[in-house]
Symmetry: C2
């Protein structure tokens, strides 16, 4: 039986070491910019996207060490999106992971540039990985493409734009799902596909991972919406009821809390089932992560 | 004798066709985001970075058609930097190329996301180019690395951060040059190196192009500072004297207008001389571009 807590801790440690190696040192100029980048990256995240990337790589028999720079790049992309999302012109949040958000700590201009620099550094790290990597450059190029598409206007940024347009508006459950599929689902999907491709996945394996990714993303997002209603601010590290205050369309708001819990559980079950093509031993980490997505308290 | 005006027009036309093909259509969701991206990209820029990229490719005997997606990606990176630079938390400029800036036209949040999406789309386009390109994937990976480094915290974004820190402060000429070398010089350099590498440049050729890039960037920046003092707002398409109002360190402010003109001319001469290792015919476009950098009125 997999010890998920140990698995997560070990993954996070490896990813954080890779991030430390790939991010500019805080004492190199421009220092304030580099400090802001590191402040947000080393702010105690769950490292979920890199963990999904590593797990997908190992699921198809790949070597997790070789894919660490890819995992780290995904966390840089995720962190940049949080920094920009927290800015006054977006969600205007002052608290993230229990600490002042980047713009509260460093000012708006530096926070925006820190986000820009993290996104750019992600691709610089991917370029370096592709140039020095053990695998063929053509595979590395596919990985870069997956991450760029997942993060772009038909992926994560597109979801942020749709989310923005939806604020204060009535949305159907279908419209809601479309927003979340992009806003959070696309980068989860990119993380899983990138890890699998780097690990040498074939077409059937990749198709199964894509089904897992879609259901995992849905389960994760519904749980996120639920935690905004029932969560504990101290454990979450961010203000609760913020969706409600901003009149954001959420699952509990549209279908009610109980139905939202059921939908989340069903999505996690479908994610788990999608991995049936793999040996149970290899699939265990991703299955445990799907269960965690709907049981987590932060 | 090269007809520089025709050369520039032809290059811009090819780059704009590539941009149109590589950017999401304006009627695809999220429409407002894609409209904002296209609004800023097709706002009448000089397409200088892509032109430098194409010229460097041809300088070393490469095929300009094959490098058009790289040139287009450079323009996306440049446009994103302008959008973010114009935002209220940065320079707070309302006018760019004679039109309202992106945030004035689309709102701050959409403008920030449009910048984010353009930067991401640049790497998506580069990834696609690398995957489908005619050249070896390893060369494409080097090109991606050059652009990511040129745009990042030791390049363009780093320069924006240093510029921000320098506002309202006394700066020496050396400090000034260090800022501009990053803020504008790094992406010029990346454009030239990326074009040359994609075109198959050897080590000696690349070294000469790097010397050209450094001097070109310096010449361009000094002229920019001069135009802020003596330029015509209608021709520039942006407010003049804005550096002065913001107490920005500029060449005319530090060394005076006449000495600034001399320094610009000397830098352009050194840029021209750096190309002596190439045949005069092939070097002509980049030589003409160096002269243009210090004679331009916008």
């Amino acid at each position: 039986m997999l010890d998920l807590r140990a698995y997560l801790a070990e993954g996070a440690k490896a990813v954080e070491a890779a991030l430390d190696a790939l991010l500019p040192a805080a004492d190199r100029e421009p220092r304030r910019l580099h400090q802001a980048m590191r402040y947000s990256v080393f702010g105690g995240g769950k490292r979920l996207r890199p963990t999904l990337c590593l797990a997908a790589c190992e699921l198809v028999g790949g070597d997790r060490e070789s894919v660490l720079p890819v995992a780290a790049a995904l966390e840089m992309v995720h962190t940049y999106s949080l920094i920009h999302d927290d800015l006054p012109c977006m969600d205007d949040d002052a608290l993230r992971r229990g600490r002042p958000t980047c713009h509260v700590a460093f000012g708006e201009a530096t926070a925006m540039l820190a986000g820009d620099a993290l996104l750019t550094q992600a691709f610089a790290a991917l370029g370096e990985w592709a140039a020095q990597g053990t695998g063929p450059a053509a595979v590395a190029v596919r990985v870069i493409g997956e991450i760029a598409r997942g993060a772009g206007s038909f992926g994560m940024v597109g979801g942020q734009a749709l989310d923005l347009a939806a604020e204060g508006q009535e949305r159907s459950l279908l419209e809601l799902e479309a927003i979340h599929r992009l806003k959070t689902g696309a980068l989860f999907g990119a993380a899983l596909r990138a890890g699998a491709i780097a690990g040498g996945a074939g077409g059937t394996e990749l198709a199964a991972i894509e089904r897992y990714a879609a259901e995992f993303g849905l389960a994760f997002q519904i749980r996120d919406d639920i935690l905004d209603v029932v969560g504990d601010q101290a454990r979450l590290g961010k203000p609760v009821r913020s969706d409600l205050r901003k009149q954001k369309a959420t699952y509990p708001a549209v279908v009610g809390l109980e139905r939202a819990r059921i939908l989340a559980g069903e999505a996690a079950d479908r994610a788990t089932a999608a991995l049936d093509v793999f040996s149970p031993g290899r699939a265990e980490p991703l299955r445990a992560l799907a269960r965690l997505a709907v049981s987590r308290e932060n």
